[in-house]
Subunit: 192 residues, 2 copies
């Protein structure tokens, strides 16, 4: 029991109290339910892994994007987390593939370039397999630092390096744009 | 009294009840206060007008921006309302001048190109006095329609026509960007 509580406490946002409650719940539940939970936890790790090409979470390797011949494998969109891929897929406008960093640079939290999964991306670009790398990290402090570090790391290689636009969100009045966003919207203006 | 109530009801968000309350308040207040209010209303119209160059609300003509020799008068930023100038001035990054349309195209509300104050802008561009027109209307339905109408009206003239960037706002996670904004952020990506 104590061992289970210790393990449950490792889940994010779960303290001693919650862990104890979970453990008692499992104790009271049927054998099947407890085994199903154990099996689901074991199965997740057994079936899900990171794509060896792009680091996306996947049950097949390479992942669905990297193994899809209909996509443009010479156009790589770099994102922070696997969930960001959903945001980009929803636009139905991106035909390329992805690379997941699994985080952003964050010196305060001890996350430096070595902690980010960028090696396979750099290798692909170095081998000349990529025409354009789109840096689609968020326009937050960490996301910008990560984009600028990656841009430097990719400098001198053959791929074009681009950054997604920062600006006033679609459908929103410029009245509500903060000054940094407004400054970036002006700076990033495009010829019509 | 009835005449005052009728006039007060023309103020936005003021109905019969509020107008009556205002009127009785004025009735009860001192002669000086009532006269000061009347004088302030009269004075506003007497002292404030629209700049003959850019249509900004101003007490001198031309306005502070149009008469400032330190600003670049060949770079014109087109906005919907005088208050939008504040949003752009806050960025401290814009050195040009403005043109205020006083509205956006809105066929549903009967606002067509003739209702917008664009004549002086077109005349300035036609006279070759402008190098670049930045269309800084909001990325809303009406703002986009207005920008695209103006871009067409300016086509073939000597000035470059640009549009402010639509994209993920600064400091915001791409997780929270809607798909139209995300699509525009990708589309508007810039080379680093």
């Amino acid at each position: 029991m104590a061992r289970l509580i210790e393990e449950l406490k490792k889940l994010p946002g779960v303290g001693s109290k919650s862990a104890q409650r979970f453990a008692f719940h499992i104790l009271r539940s049927s054998d099947e339910d407890a085994l199903a939970l154990a099996e689901a936890v074991r199965g997740l790790k057994a079936s899900l892994r990171l794509c060896s090409v792009c680091n996306n979470v996947t049950d097949i390797d390479p992942c669905n994007y990297c193994s899809n011949p209909a996509r443009n494998h010479r156009l790589v969109c770099v994102v922070e987390e696997p969930t960001n891929i959903t945001s980009i897929e929803r636009t139905r406008g991106f035909e390329g593939v992805y690379h997941v960093l699994h985080g952003t640079l964050s010196p305060l939290h001890g996350i430096g370039p070595d902690q980010l999964r960028s090696a396979t991306l750099l290798a692909r670009v170095e081998r000349g397999e990529v025409d354009e790398v789109i840096l689609a990290t968020s326009p937050t402090l960490e996301g910008e630092a990560t984009a600028s570090w990656l841009a430097t790391a990719l400098r001198g290689l053959s791929a074009k390096v681009t950054r997604i636009a920062t600006g006033v969100p679609a459908g929103s009045d410029i009245e509500y744009a903060d000054e940094v966003t407004m400054a970036r919207a002006l700076e990033g203006r495009r010829e019509l």
